[in-house]
Amino acid sequence: MDEQTRNILEILEEDARIVPEEIASLTGMTVEEVSQKIEYLEKAKIIRKYKTIIDWELAGENYVYAIIELKVQLERKLGYQAIAERLYKFPEVRSVRLLSGEHDISITVRGNSMKQVAFFVAEKIATLDQVQSTATHFVLKTYKENGLILDEPDQVKRLAVSP
Protein backbone atom coordinates (compact mmCIF):
# COMPACT_ATOMS: atom_id res chain seq x y z
CA MET A 1 0.00 0.00 0.00
CA ASP A 2 1.34 3.44 -0.86
CA GLU A 3 1.93 6.07 1.83
CA GLN A 4 -0.92 8.33 0.68
CA THR A 5 -3.50 5.54 0.81
CA ARG A 6 -2.30 4.43 4.24
CA ASN A 7 -2.50 8.03 5.46
CA ILE A 8 -6.08 8.47 4.26
CA LEU A 9 -7.23 5.14 5.68
CA GLU A 10 -5.65 5.74 9.09
CA ILE A 11 -7.13 9.24 9.32
CA LEU A 12 -10.61 8.00 8.34
CA GLU A 13 -10.42 5.01 10.66
CA GLU A 14 -9.81 7.42 13.52
CA ASP A 15 -12.44 9.97 12.46
CA ALA A 16 -15.02 9.06 9.81
CA ARG A 17 -16.52 12.55 9.80
CA ILE A 18 -13.32 14.32 8.74
CA VAL A 19 -13.77 16.26 5.49
CA PRO A 20 -11.48 15.98 2.43
CA GLU A 21 -10.24 19.57 2.98
CA GLU A 22 -8.90 18.59 6.36
CA ILE A 23 -7.36 15.36 5.12
CA ALA A 24 -5.65 17.42 2.43
CA SER A 25 -4.08 19.73 5.01
CA LEU A 26 -2.87 16.72 7.01
CA THR A 27 -1.36 14.88 4.07
CA GLY A 28 -0.13 17.61 1.75
CA MET A 29 -2.37 16.27 -1.04
CA THR A 30 -4.86 18.46 -2.89
CA VAL A 31 -8.55 18.26 -1.96
CA GLU A 32 -9.29 16.82 -5.38
CA GLU A 33 -6.66 14.09 -4.99
CA VAL A 34 -8.08 13.16 -1.58
CA SER A 35 -11.65 13.02 -2.91
CA GLN A 36 -10.63 10.88 -5.88
CA LYS A 37 -8.67 8.52 -3.68
CA ILE A 38 -11.58 8.13 -1.25
CA GLU A 39 -13.97 7.49 -4.12
CA TYR A 40 -11.67 4.77 -5.43
CA LEU A 41 -11.33 3.21 -1.95
CA GLU A 42 -15.11 3.19 -1.56
CA LYS A 43 -15.67 1.65 -4.99
CA ALA A 44 -13.02 -0.97 -4.37
CA LYS A 45 -14.82 -1.77 -1.09
CA ILE A 46 -11.65 -1.18 0.86
CA ILE A 47 -13.69 1.40 2.76
CA ARG A 48 -16.77 -0.66 3.62
CA LYS A 49 -18.88 1.73 5.66
CA TYR A 50 -18.63 4.82 7.87
CA LYS A 51 -19.83 3.97 11.37
CA THR A 52 -20.05 5.54 14.81
CA ILE A 53 -19.01 3.88 18.03
CA ILE A 54 -21.67 4.68 20.63
CA ASP A 55 -21.48 4.04 24.33
CA TRP A 56 -25.11 2.89 24.63
CA GLU A 57 -24.72 2.25 28.33
CA LEU A 58 -23.81 5.90 28.87
CA ALA A 59 -26.69 6.94 26.63
CA GLY A 60 -29.04 5.11 28.99
CA GLU A 61 -29.99 2.28 26.59
CA ASN A 62 -29.64 -1.02 28.37
CA TYR A 63 -28.88 -3.26 25.44
CA VAL A 64 -27.86 -6.79 26.27
CA TYR A 65 -25.05 -8.38 24.29
CA ALA A 66 -24.18 -12.05 24.18
CA ILE A 67 -21.42 -13.97 22.47
CA ILE A 68 -22.67 -17.36 21.32
CA GLU A 69 -20.29 -20.10 20.29
CA LEU A 70 -21.69 -22.70 17.94
CA LYS A 71 -20.71 -26.20 16.92
CA VAL A 72 -22.11 -26.90 13.49
CA GLN A 73 -22.71 -29.83 11.16
CA LEU A 74 -21.36 -29.05 7.71
CA GLU A 75 -23.40 -29.63 4.59
CA ARG A 76 -21.73 -31.38 1.71
CA LYS A 77 -20.19 -28.90 -0.78
CA LEU A 78 -21.54 -25.81 0.98
CA GLY A 79 -19.12 -25.79 3.93
CA TYR A 80 -19.35 -23.02 6.49
CA GLN A 81 -20.57 -20.38 4.04
CA ALA A 82 -24.14 -21.68 4.03
CA ILE A 83 -24.58 -21.56 7.81
CA ALA A 84 -22.81 -18.19 8.00
CA GLU A 85 -25.29 -16.79 5.48
CA ARG A 86 -28.22 -18.07 7.53
CA LEU A 87 -26.80 -16.50 10.65
CA TYR A 88 -25.81 -13.05 9.40
CA LYS A 89 -29.26 -12.35 7.97
CA PHE A 90 -30.81 -12.11 11.45
CA PRO A 91 -30.79 -8.40 12.44
CA GLU A 92 -30.15 -9.42 16.06
CA VAL A 93 -26.82 -10.92 14.98
CA ARG A 94 -24.17 -8.18 15.04
CA SER A 95 -21.14 -10.22 13.97
CA VAL A 96 -20.36 -13.69 12.66
CA ARG A 97 -16.89 -15.21 12.80
CA LEU A 98 -15.44 -18.59 11.85
CA LEU A 99 -13.16 -19.88 14.57
CA SER A 100 -10.45 -22.44 15.02
CA GLY A 101 -10.51 -24.62 18.13
CA GLU A 102 -13.31 -26.18 20.12
CA HIS A 103 -16.17 -24.27 18.48
CA ASP A 104 -16.74 -23.53 14.82
CA ILE A 105 -18.52 -20.21 14.74
CA SER A 106 -18.92 -17.28 17.09
CA ILE A 107 -21.77 -14.78 16.79
CA THR A 108 -22.54 -11.65 18.75
CA VAL A 109 -26.20 -10.99 19.43
CA ARG A 110 -27.81 -7.77 20.68
CA GLY A 111 -31.21 -7.63 22.36
CA ASN A 112 -33.26 -5.52 24.73
CA SER A 113 -33.19 -8.02 27.58
CA MET A 114 -31.51 -11.25 28.63
CA LYS A 115 -34.82 -13.00 28.14
CA GLN A 116 -35.14 -11.75 24.56
CA VAL A 117 -31.59 -12.84 23.71
CA ALA A 118 -32.09 -16.24 25.40
CA PHE A 119 -35.32 -16.86 23.46
CA PHE A 120 -33.71 -15.74 20.22
CA VAL A 121 -30.87 -18.22 20.69
CA ALA A 122 -33.18 -21.03 21.77
CA GLU A 123 -35.76 -20.51 19.04
CA LYS A 124 -33.84 -19.18 16.05
CA ILE A 125 -30.24 -20.30 16.37
CA ALA A 126 -30.25 -23.63 18.24
CA THR A 127 -33.05 -24.90 16.01
CA LEU A 128 -31.15 -24.47 12.76
CA ASP A 129 -30.49 -27.85 11.15
CA GLN A 130 -26.72 -27.41 10.99
CA VAL A 131 -26.33 -26.27 14.61
CA GLN A 132 -25.27 -29.09 16.92
CA SER A 133 -24.79 -27.11 20.13
CA THR A 134 -24.60 -23.56 21.48
CA ALA A 135 -22.78 -21.94 24.40
CA THR A 136 -24.10 -18.50 25.34
CA HIS A 137 -21.96 -15.92 27.18
CA PHE A 138 -23.69 -12.71 28.23
CA VAL A 139 -21.51 -9.62 28.04
CA LEU A 140 -21.35 -7.92 31.43
CA LYS A 141 -19.32 -4.85 30.47
CA THR A 142 -17.52 -3.60 27.36
CA TYR A 143 -14.19 -1.95 28.07
CA LYS A 144 -12.94 -1.59 24.51
CA GLU A 145 -14.88 -1.53 21.24
CA ASN A 146 -13.32 -1.54 17.79
CA GLY A 147 -10.01 -0.31 19.15
CA LEU A 148 -11.60 2.43 21.27
CA ILE A 149 -11.21 2.22 25.04
CA LEU A 150 -14.61 3.18 26.46
CA ASP A 151 -13.73 3.72 30.10
CA GLU A 152 -10.30 5.29 29.66
CA PRO A 153 -9.12 7.34 32.62
CA ASP A 154 -8.12 10.96 31.96
CA GLN A 155 -4.79 11.35 30.20
CA VAL A 156 -1.84 12.40 32.31
CA LYS A 157 -1.44 16.17 32.07
CA ARG A 158 1.79 17.51 30.59
CA LEU A 159 3.49 20.71 31.65
CA ALA A 160 2.52 23.65 29.40
CA VAL A 161 6.20 24.43 28.83
CA SER A 162 8.78 21.68 29.11
CA PRO A 163 12.26 22.25 30.53
Binding site: R6, N7, E10, I11, S25, L26, T27, G28, Q155, V156, R158, L159, A160, V161, S162, P163
Partner: protein, 391 residues
Protein backbone atom coordinates in the same frame (compact mmCIF):
# COMPACT_ATOMS: atom_id res chain seq x y z
CA UNK B 1 28.63 38.32 67.17
CA UNK B 2 28.97 36.15 64.08
CA UNK B 3 28.84 37.86 60.66
CA UNK B 4 25.76 37.17 58.57
CA UNK B 5 26.18 34.64 55.76
CA UNK B 6 25.85 35.82 52.17
CA UNK B 7 25.26 32.55 50.24
CA UNK B 8 25.65 34.15 46.80
CA UNK B 9 29.30 34.86 47.66
CA UNK B 10 29.94 31.11 47.53
CA UNK B 11 28.46 30.47 44.09
CA UNK B 12 31.21 29.63 41.61
CA UNK B 13 32.26 32.03 38.86
CA UNK B 14 31.23 29.61 36.13
CA UNK B 15 27.71 29.40 37.55
CA UNK B 16 27.44 33.17 37.56
CA UNK B 17 28.27 33.24 33.85
CA UNK B 18 25.15 31.25 33.02
CA UNK B 19 21.84 33.11 32.87
CA UNK B 20 18.63 31.21 33.71
CA UNK B 21 16.85 29.60 30.76
CA UNK B 22 14.55 31.99 28.91
CA UNK B 23 11.97 29.23 28.79
CA UNK B 24 11.47 29.56 32.54
CA UNK B 25 9.60 32.87 32.20
CA UNK B 26 7.05 31.27 29.89
CA UNK B 27 6.73 28.29 32.17
CA UNK B 28 5.76 30.59 35.04
CA UNK B 29 3.38 32.67 32.88
CA UNK B 30 1.65 29.58 31.47
CA UNK B 31 1.23 28.10 34.94
CA UNK B 32 -0.80 31.15 35.95
CA UNK B 33 -3.15 31.03 32.95
CA UNK B 34 -6.19 28.88 32.28
CA UNK B 35 -7.48 27.52 28.96
CA UNK B 36 -3.93 27.51 27.66
CA UNK B 37 -3.06 25.77 24.40
CA UNK B 38 0.56 24.82 24.49
CA UNK B 39 2.87 24.63 21.49
CA UNK B 40 5.71 25.06 23.96
CA UNK B 41 6.25 21.47 24.94
CA UNK B 42 9.28 19.67 23.53
CA UNK B 43 7.94 16.23 24.26
CA UNK B 44 5.60 13.80 22.52
CA UNK B 45 1.94 14.02 23.52
CA UNK B 46 1.81 10.22 23.53
CA UNK B 47 2.08 8.13 26.64
CA UNK B 48 4.92 5.59 26.41
CA UNK B 49 3.63 2.57 24.44
CA UNK B 50 2.00 0.05 26.76
CA UNK B 51 4.33 -2.85 25.95
CA UNK B 52 7.30 -0.75 27.16
CA UNK B 53 5.52 0.25 30.38
CA UNK B 54 4.45 -3.37 30.87
CA UNK B 55 8.06 -4.60 30.52
CA UNK B 56 9.08 -2.16 33.28
CA UNK B 57 6.26 -3.28 35.57
CA UNK B 58 7.17 -6.92 34.97
CA UNK B 59 10.80 -6.18 35.77
CA UNK B 60 9.89 -4.52 39.08
CA UNK B 61 7.53 -7.37 39.96
CA UNK B 62 10.43 -9.76 39.49
CA UNK B 63 12.65 -7.80 41.84
CA UNK B 64 14.97 -6.18 39.33
CA UNK B 65 15.77 -3.18 41.48
CA UNK B 66 19.56 -3.27 41.68
CA UNK B 67 22.41 -1.16 40.31
CA UNK B 68 23.65 -2.10 36.88
CA UNK B 69 27.10 -1.87 35.34
CA UNK B 70 28.27 1.75 35.12
CA UNK B 71 28.08 1.37 31.34
CA UNK B 72 24.47 0.13 31.53
CA UNK B 73 22.98 -3.34 31.10
CA UNK B 74 24.98 -5.36 28.57
CA UNK B 75 21.71 -6.54 27.02
CA UNK B 76 20.76 -2.92 26.32
CA UNK B 77 24.18 -1.99 24.94
CA UNK B 78 24.00 -4.99 22.60
CA UNK B 79 20.56 -3.88 21.37
CA UNK B 80 21.81 -0.32 20.82
CA UNK B 81 24.82 -1.63 18.90
CA UNK B 82 22.61 -3.88 16.73
CA UNK B 83 20.21 -1.05 16.07
CA UNK B 84 22.97 1.29 14.81
CA UNK B 85 24.56 -1.40 12.68
CA UNK B 86 21.19 -2.19 11.15
CA UNK B 87 20.11 1.40 10.49
CA UNK B 88 23.42 3.11 9.68
CA UNK B 89 25.88 0.31 9.02
CA UNK B 90 28.23 1.60 11.70
CA UNK B 91 29.36 -0.75 14.48
CA UNK B 92 30.05 0.19 18.10
CA UNK B 93 31.41 -2.43 20.47
CA UNK B 94 28.93 -2.89 23.35
CA UNK B 95 31.83 -3.67 25.70
CA UNK B 96 33.58 -0.32 25.70
CA UNK B 97 32.13 2.01 23.07
CA UNK B 98 28.60 2.56 24.42
CA UNK B 99 27.57 4.30 27.64
CA UNK B 100 23.95 4.33 28.83
CA UNK B 101 23.06 7.68 30.45
CA UNK B 102 20.12 9.35 32.15
CA UNK B 103 18.91 11.45 29.25
CA UNK B 104 20.83 12.98 26.37
CA UNK B 105 21.36 15.96 28.68
CA UNK B 106 23.66 13.87 30.86
CA UNK B 107 25.36 12.33 27.83
CA UNK B 108 26.02 15.83 26.48
CA UNK B 109 27.43 17.04 29.79
CA UNK B 110 29.71 13.98 30.02
CA UNK B 111 30.87 14.33 26.41
CA UNK B 112 31.83 17.97 26.88
CA UNK B 113 33.50 17.42 30.25
CA UNK B 114 35.41 14.39 28.93
CA UNK B 115 37.16 16.37 26.19
CA UNK B 116 37.35 19.96 27.49
CA UNK B 117 40.40 21.55 29.07
CA UNK B 118 40.06 25.07 30.52
CA UNK B 119 40.00 27.54 27.65
CA UNK B 120 39.20 25.00 24.92
CA UNK B 121 36.77 26.36 22.40
CA UNK B 122 33.72 24.37 21.36
CA UNK B 123 31.70 25.53 18.39
CA UNK B 124 27.93 25.43 18.77
CA UNK B 125 25.71 25.71 15.72
CA UNK B 126 22.67 27.78 16.70
CA UNK B 127 19.69 27.96 16.93
CA UNK B 128 20.20 25.00 19.20
CA UNK B 129 19.01 23.28 22.31
CA UNK B 130 19.48 25.60 25.29
CA UNK B 131 21.84 23.32 27.26
CA UNK B 132 24.82 23.32 24.87
CA UNK B 133 26.35 26.68 25.80
CA UNK B 134 25.90 26.33 29.61
CA UNK B 135 27.35 22.80 29.53
CA UNK B 136 30.52 24.14 27.86
CA UNK B 137 30.80 26.94 30.44
CA UNK B 138 30.31 24.48 33.33
CA UNK B 139 33.20 22.43 31.91
CA UNK B 140 35.49 25.46 31.82
CA UNK B 141 35.40 25.69 28.05
CA UNK B 142 34.63 28.62 25.81
CA UNK B 143 31.48 28.39 23.69
CA UNK B 144 31.85 29.81 20.18
CA UNK B 145 28.43 30.19 18.59
CA UNK B 146 27.80 30.34 14.88
CA UNK B 147 24.39 30.94 13.41
CA UNK B 148 22.52 28.80 10.93
CA UNK B 149 20.20 31.20 9.13
CA UNK B 150 16.60 31.12 8.05
CA UNK B 151 17.56 32.05 4.49
CA UNK B 152 19.30 28.65 4.24
CA UNK B 153 16.48 26.82 5.99
CA UNK B 154 18.72 26.75 9.06
CA UNK B 155 21.33 24.37 7.68
CA UNK B 156 25.01 25.22 8.13
CA UNK B 157 27.83 25.06 5.60
CA UNK B 158 31.31 23.59 6.04
CA UNK B 159 32.75 27.04 5.23
CA UNK B 160 30.78 28.67 8.06
CA UNK B 161 32.10 26.10 10.52
CA UNK B 162 35.65 26.41 9.20
CA UNK B 163 35.58 30.18 9.62
CA UNK B 164 34.95 29.76 13.35
CA UNK B 165 37.78 27.28 13.94
CA UNK B 166 40.89 28.52 15.78
CA UNK B 167 43.88 26.69 17.22
CA UNK B 168 41.93 26.39 20.47
CA UNK B 169 38.94 24.64 18.90
CA UNK B 170 38.31 21.17 20.33
CA UNK B 171 34.97 20.19 18.88
CA UNK B 172 31.78 21.18 17.09
CA UNK B 173 28.26 20.39 18.34
CA UNK B 174 25.50 19.86 15.80
CA UNK B 175 21.92 18.74 16.22
CA UNK B 176 20.00 17.58 13.15
CA UNK B 177 17.04 17.13 12.91
CA UNK B 178 17.19 20.30 14.90
CA UNK B 179 15.49 21.61 17.98
CA UNK B 180 14.11 24.33 17.61
CA UNK B 181 13.99 24.68 13.80
CA UNK B 182 13.15 21.17 12.56
CA UNK B 183 15.90 21.58 9.95
CA UNK B 184 17.77 18.54 8.64
CA UNK B 185 21.08 18.18 6.78
CA UNK B 186 21.70 15.87 3.83
CA UNK B 187 24.66 13.56 3.32
CA UNK B 188 26.58 15.86 0.94
CA UNK B 189 26.41 18.77 3.36
CA UNK B 190 27.60 16.60 6.24
CA UNK B 191 30.44 15.09 4.17
CA UNK B 192 31.75 18.59 3.45
CA UNK B 193 31.66 19.30 7.20
CA UNK B 194 33.43 16.00 7.89
CA UNK B 195 36.30 17.10 5.62
CA UNK B 196 36.73 20.27 7.69
CA UNK B 197 36.66 18.29 10.95
CA UNK B 198 39.43 15.98 9.71
CA UNK B 199 41.51 18.76 8.23
CA UNK B 200 41.56 20.69 11.51
CA UNK B 201 41.92 17.55 13.63
CA UNK B 202 38.96 18.29 15.91
CA UNK B 203 35.96 16.30 17.11
CA UNK B 204 32.24 16.30 16.36
CA UNK B 205 29.53 15.91 18.98
CA UNK B 206 26.40 14.91 17.12
CA UNK B 207 23.12 15.08 19.04
CA UNK B 208 20.83 12.76 17.10
CA UNK B 209 17.95 12.56 19.56
CA UNK B 210 15.42 13.51 16.85
CA UNK B 211 16.93 11.10 14.32
CA UNK B 212 13.89 8.84 14.09
CA UNK B 213 11.59 11.81 13.51
CA UNK B 214 12.77 12.46 9.95
CA UNK B 215 9.92 12.91 7.48
CA UNK B 216 11.63 13.68 4.20
CA UNK B 217 14.87 12.12 3.00
CA UNK B 218 17.00 9.76 5.06
CA UNK B 219 18.87 10.78 8.18
CA UNK B 220 22.65 10.54 7.82
CA UNK B 221 24.54 9.35 10.88
CA UNK B 222 27.67 11.53 11.11
CA UNK B 223 29.87 8.74 12.49
CA UNK B 224 28.95 6.53 9.54
CA UNK B 225 30.75 8.93 7.18
CA UNK B 226 34.20 7.86 6.09
CA UNK B 227 36.85 8.52 8.74
CA UNK B 228 34.33 9.96 11.22
CA UNK B 229 33.65 7.05 13.53
CA UNK B 230 36.47 7.79 15.99
CA UNK B 231 36.15 11.56 15.62
CA UNK B 232 32.51 11.63 16.63
CA UNK B 233 30.66 11.36 19.92
CA UNK B 234 27.18 10.19 19.00
CA UNK B 235 24.39 11.11 21.39
CA UNK B 236 20.97 9.57 21.09
CA UNK B 237 18.05 8.62 23.31
CA UNK B 238 14.60 7.20 23.70
CA UNK B 239 12.63 10.30 24.79
CA UNK B 240 11.38 11.56 21.46
CA UNK B 241 11.06 8.47 19.23
CA UNK B 242 9.49 6.20 21.84
CA UNK B 243 7.65 8.86 23.87
CA UNK B 244 9.80 8.05 26.93
CA UNK B 245 10.79 11.51 28.19
CA UNK B 246 10.20 10.71 31.87
CA UNK B 247 12.34 7.58 31.70
CA UNK B 248 15.47 9.71 31.08
CA UNK B 249 17.01 7.04 28.87
CA UNK B 250 19.82 7.82 26.44
CA UNK B 251 23.29 6.75 25.36
CA UNK B 252 26.58 7.95 24.00
CA UNK B 253 28.74 6.10 21.50
CA UNK B 254 32.37 6.90 20.75
CA UNK B 255 35.90 5.49 20.70
CA UNK B 256 36.81 3.52 23.88
CA UNK B 257 39.13 6.28 25.19
CA UNK B 258 36.32 8.85 25.05
CA UNK B 259 33.64 6.55 26.44
CA UNK B 260 35.95 5.50 29.25
CA UNK B 261 36.51 9.14 30.24
CA UNK B 262 32.79 9.83 30.11
CA UNK B 263 32.17 6.69 32.15
CA UNK B 264 34.58 7.90 34.88
CA UNK B 265 32.52 11.07 35.44
CA UNK B 266 29.28 9.08 35.19
CA UNK B 267 30.64 6.51 37.67
CA UNK B 268 31.35 9.13 40.33
CA UNK B 269 28.24 11.22 39.79
CA UNK B 270 25.31 9.23 38.43
CA UNK B 271 26.82 5.75 38.95
CA UNK B 272 24.39 4.13 36.54
CA UNK B 273 21.08 4.77 34.81
CA UNK B 274 18.00 3.35 36.59
CA UNK B 275 17.56 -0.35 35.85
CA UNK B 276 13.79 -0.13 35.29
CA UNK B 277 14.18 2.49 32.58
CA UNK B 278 16.93 0.39 30.97
CA UNK B 279 14.59 -2.59 30.81
CA UNK B 280 12.03 -0.35 29.11
CA UNK B 281 14.65 0.76 26.60
CA UNK B 282 15.49 -2.86 25.72
CA UNK B 283 11.81 -3.53 25.06
CA UNK B 284 11.55 -0.34 22.98
CA UNK B 285 14.43 -1.40 20.73
CA UNK B 286 13.21 -4.98 20.39
CA UNK B 287 9.51 -4.44 19.79
CA UNK B 288 8.90 -0.72 19.37
CA UNK B 289 9.24 -0.24 15.61
CA UNK B 290 5.55 -0.38 14.80
CA UNK B 291 4.69 2.22 17.43
CA UNK B 292 7.50 4.50 16.23
CA UNK B 293 6.21 4.30 12.64
CA UNK B 294 2.66 5.09 13.77
CA UNK B 295 3.76 8.11 15.80
CA UNK B 296 6.02 9.39 13.01
CA UNK B 297 3.16 9.15 10.49
CA UNK B 298 0.92 11.13 12.81
CA UNK B 299 3.59 13.78 13.50
CA UNK B 300 4.06 14.10 9.75
CA UNK B 301 0.34 14.87 9.34
CA UNK B 302 0.48 17.47 12.10
CA UNK B 303 3.61 18.96 10.52
CA UNK B 304 1.74 19.56 7.29
CA UNK B 305 -1.25 20.92 9.20
CA UNK B 306 0.76 23.45 11.23
CA UNK B 307 3.14 24.58 8.48
CA UNK B 308 0.23 25.07 6.05
CA UNK B 309 -1.80 26.82 8.74
CA UNK B 310 1.01 29.21 9.73
CA UNK B 311 1.71 30.13 6.12
CA UNK B 312 -2.01 30.69 5.53
CA UNK B 313 -2.23 33.25 8.33
CA UNK B 314 0.77 35.11 6.91
CA UNK B 315 3.60 33.81 9.11
CA UNK B 316 6.27 32.66 6.69
CA UNK B 317 7.33 29.16 7.71
CA UNK B 318 9.89 27.05 5.85
CA UNK B 319 9.26 23.32 5.55
CA UNK B 320 10.91 21.55 8.53
CA UNK B 321 11.87 18.00 7.56
CA UNK B 322 12.46 16.56 11.02
CA UNK B 323 11.83 16.78 14.79
CA UNK B 324 8.41 18.14 15.84
CA UNK B 325 8.92 21.88 15.65
CA UNK B 326 7.75 24.50 13.18
CA UNK B 327 9.84 27.68 13.20
CA UNK B 328 7.86 30.47 11.53
CA UNK B 329 9.21 33.96 10.99
CA UNK B 330 7.28 36.70 12.80
CA UNK B 331 9.43 39.51 11.34
CA UNK B 332 6.51 40.80 9.24
CA UNK B 333 4.64 41.72 12.43
CA UNK B 334 7.32 44.15 13.59
CA UNK B 335 7.39 42.54 17.03
CA UNK B 336 10.42 40.84 18.59
CA UNK B 337 10.15 37.12 19.28
CA UNK B 338 9.82 37.78 22.97
CA UNK B 339 7.13 40.46 22.55
CA UNK B 340 5.18 38.23 20.15
CA UNK B 341 5.31 35.14 22.38
CA UNK B 342 4.52 37.07 25.55
CA UNK B 343 1.57 38.97 24.07
CA UNK B 344 0.28 35.84 22.32
CA UNK B 345 0.20 34.07 25.66
CA UNK B 346 -1.41 36.99 27.48
CA UNK B 347 -3.98 37.86 24.81
CA UNK B 348 -4.78 34.48 23.24
CA UNK B 349 -3.56 31.92 25.77
CA UNK B 350 -1.26 30.17 23.31
CA UNK B 351 2.19 29.14 24.51
CA UNK B 352 5.06 29.32 22.02
CA UNK B 353 8.76 29.85 22.63
CA UNK B 354 10.68 32.86 21.27
CA UNK B 355 13.28 31.76 18.72
CA UNK B 356 16.11 33.92 20.09
CA UNK B 357 16.20 31.84 23.28
CA UNK B 358 17.95 29.25 21.10
CA UNK B 359 20.52 31.67 19.66
CA UNK B 360 20.80 35.03 17.89
CA UNK B 361 19.81 33.73 14.47
CA UNK B 362 16.54 32.58 15.99
CA UNK B 363 15.56 36.24 16.56
CA UNK B 364 12.39 37.06 14.63
CA UNK B 365 11.22 33.43 14.77
CA UNK B 366 9.00 31.40 17.04
CA UNK B 367 9.25 27.74 18.09
CA UNK B 368 5.91 25.98 17.75
CA UNK B 369 5.98 22.35 18.89
CA UNK B 370 3.42 20.31 16.98
CA UNK B 371 3.53 17.36 19.37
CA UNK B 372 0.04 18.45 20.32
CA UNK B 373 -3.37 17.11 19.28
CA UNK B 374 -4.71 18.15 15.87
CA UNK B 375 -7.59 19.95 17.60
CA UNK B 376 -5.13 21.97 19.67
CA UNK B 377 -3.00 22.77 16.63
CA UNK B 378 -6.04 24.00 14.69
CA UNK B 379 -7.29 26.05 17.63
CA UNK B 380 -3.80 27.48 18.22
CA UNK B 381 -3.50 28.54 14.57
CA UNK B 382 -6.93 30.21 14.74
CA UNK B 383 -5.89 32.10 17.85
CA UNK B 384 -2.49 33.09 16.40
CA UNK B 385 -4.33 34.28 13.27
CA UNK B 386 -6.66 36.41 15.40
CA UNK B 387 -3.66 37.83 17.26
CA UNK B 388 -1.77 38.69 14.06
CA UNK B 389 -4.87 40.28 12.48
CA UNK B 390 -5.30 42.49 15.53
CA UNK B 391 -1.77 43.90 15.42
Amino acid sequence: MRTQCNPSRFVSNSMQKVPPSGIRKFFDMASDSEDVISLGVGEPDYVTPWHIREACIHSIEHGETSYTSNYGLMELREEISRSYTKRHNVYYDPNDEILVTTGVSEALDLAIRAITNPGDEIIVVQPSYVAYVPSIIFAGGVPVTIGAKGVNDFSITAEEIEAAITNKTKAVIINYPNNPTGATMDRDELEAIADVIVEHDIMMISDDVYERLTYEGKHTCFSALEGMRDRTIMLNGFSKAYAMTGFRMAYAMAAPEIINSMMLIHQYSMLCAPITAQVGAIEALRNGEEEVSKMVREYDRRRKLIVGGLNDIGLDCFNPKGAFYAFPSIKSTGLTSDEFAERLLQEQNVVTIPGDIFGDTGAGFLRCAYAASREDIKEAIDRIGTFVDGL
